[in-house]
Symmetry: D2
Subunit: 140 residues, 4 copies
């Protein structure tokens, strides 16, 4: 189980292909089956009451699992999210970054499945959990 | 089954409490169990290849179901999304708005459940489907 | 959008290939995008308090959506459930059959997606809602 | 974080209140946030091709997470599953028991959330993953 793209390669890929996202979201660490990503929360991600918006947490989980797939398949792959399930369990702590710890559960020929836990940085109680399925396009 | 907030009241509420969102997302129509919302797609919602980003579709479904609950409970309610499931089924058509047609399936004392189908405007094949659960806070 | 297997053909298929299931679960009606299935509830499906077990409702939704796919593809297809999401919203009424009303949202080359609402027979308030994805095997 | 019911107490509870289930499903091990459960697969759980049925795997995950909650709250609690999401990722190996390794992610006043990975006994690649939410009834 080889890593084709490391954190630096993934962040360069995000900066080029996902410029709207790359300012706030970053890959921190990559292992064969695991990946850590970070959302530097700013006003654009907040909702009334100071909580981080659901779509921002969805985006963090999606980016983390997507990058865990690219880490293994390389940047050619146009993997597409086909299903996502997310549980919002606690209110994130104000003024903290969010950390997604993601694990690849399956990397098949056609489908890949990963899951992510999201934490307020420095906290051990998960704010959210998510699992997502990606469709892997056939090789050209 | 009374409607407490109509489309105009919901859009005024969004403009005041969710200003980051209110520019692109709008409630179009409200009935007792159903609500239609619209995302005017611009560059901020797009991904490479011209597709609309998953988080933008998630946000549309979330807003539609949330507003369907507020339409019945009024603006006081601080309903919080606790679970979301979403299937991305087709690529949205380029240059079209997205329309969410949402239905409230349960409005309990503690939990509410709704579902939404998302279409490219003018198309009959759904781009995505989503179901979400909200926790309703106890009355003060 | 042609129907290849009608309710009678689907029930004969279930009786032959799923004998553990065919005694209690039945396809009632088949249209191009919709299918109705029925679970005749008996003691094996009940839980303490007289409610129908979650796995029995899961099985009903799964069977309904699976048969909606077979209705269109024919009995050769070995479609496999890859993802399921289910919300249990109300307690089923005692002594009533459960009815699943299912709709096919996508029937692609590789993936199919359907959703089902489950009702106590004669009631208009859904007991549960489910959406499921199936992987369609390549044609031999 | 105290354990109120251990594996023996949980299995006695299942034998008394869930007799249809207790023959095949067993709690193996209980810790504060984790629980292991086991399904001894027999013909009633099989589908054509020798695979374990989806509802049987759903039932295993449901039982594991439910027991992880009871382990902490005691047998009085009538927790009810409100949402379940499950991904079927690999075909279970023929003639092997299934093991669910479950983790409690949240045990709130109103809602509890847990997740489970299911393995063929002796294998390290997960067959399925599931997350479920339970509604906790108010104390009398």
């Amino acid at each position: 189980m080889q890593i084709i793209m490391d954190a630096e390669a993934l962040n360069a890929f995000l900066a080029r292909d996902f410029p709207q996202v790359a300012g706030s979201y970053r890959v921190e660490q990559v292992e064969a089956q695991r990946l850590t990503a970070r959302l530097s929360v700013d006003d654009a991600h907040l909702r009334p009451g100071g909580t981080v918006s659901g779509p921002s947490m969805f985006a963090l989980a999606d980016l983390a699992i997507y990058c865990a797939i690219l880490a293994r398949l390389g940047p050619v792959a146009l993997a597409v999210t086909t299903n996502a399930s997310i549980d919002f369990m606690r209110k994130p702590e104000a003024g903290r970054a969010l950390i997604a710890e993601c694990r690849l559960l399956k990397l098949g020929r056609v489908l890949a499945v990963g899951e992510a836990l999201i934490f307020s940085e420095g906290s051990e109680l998960p704010v959210a959990r998510s699992s997502m399925t990606y469709s892997i396009p056939p090789k050209a």
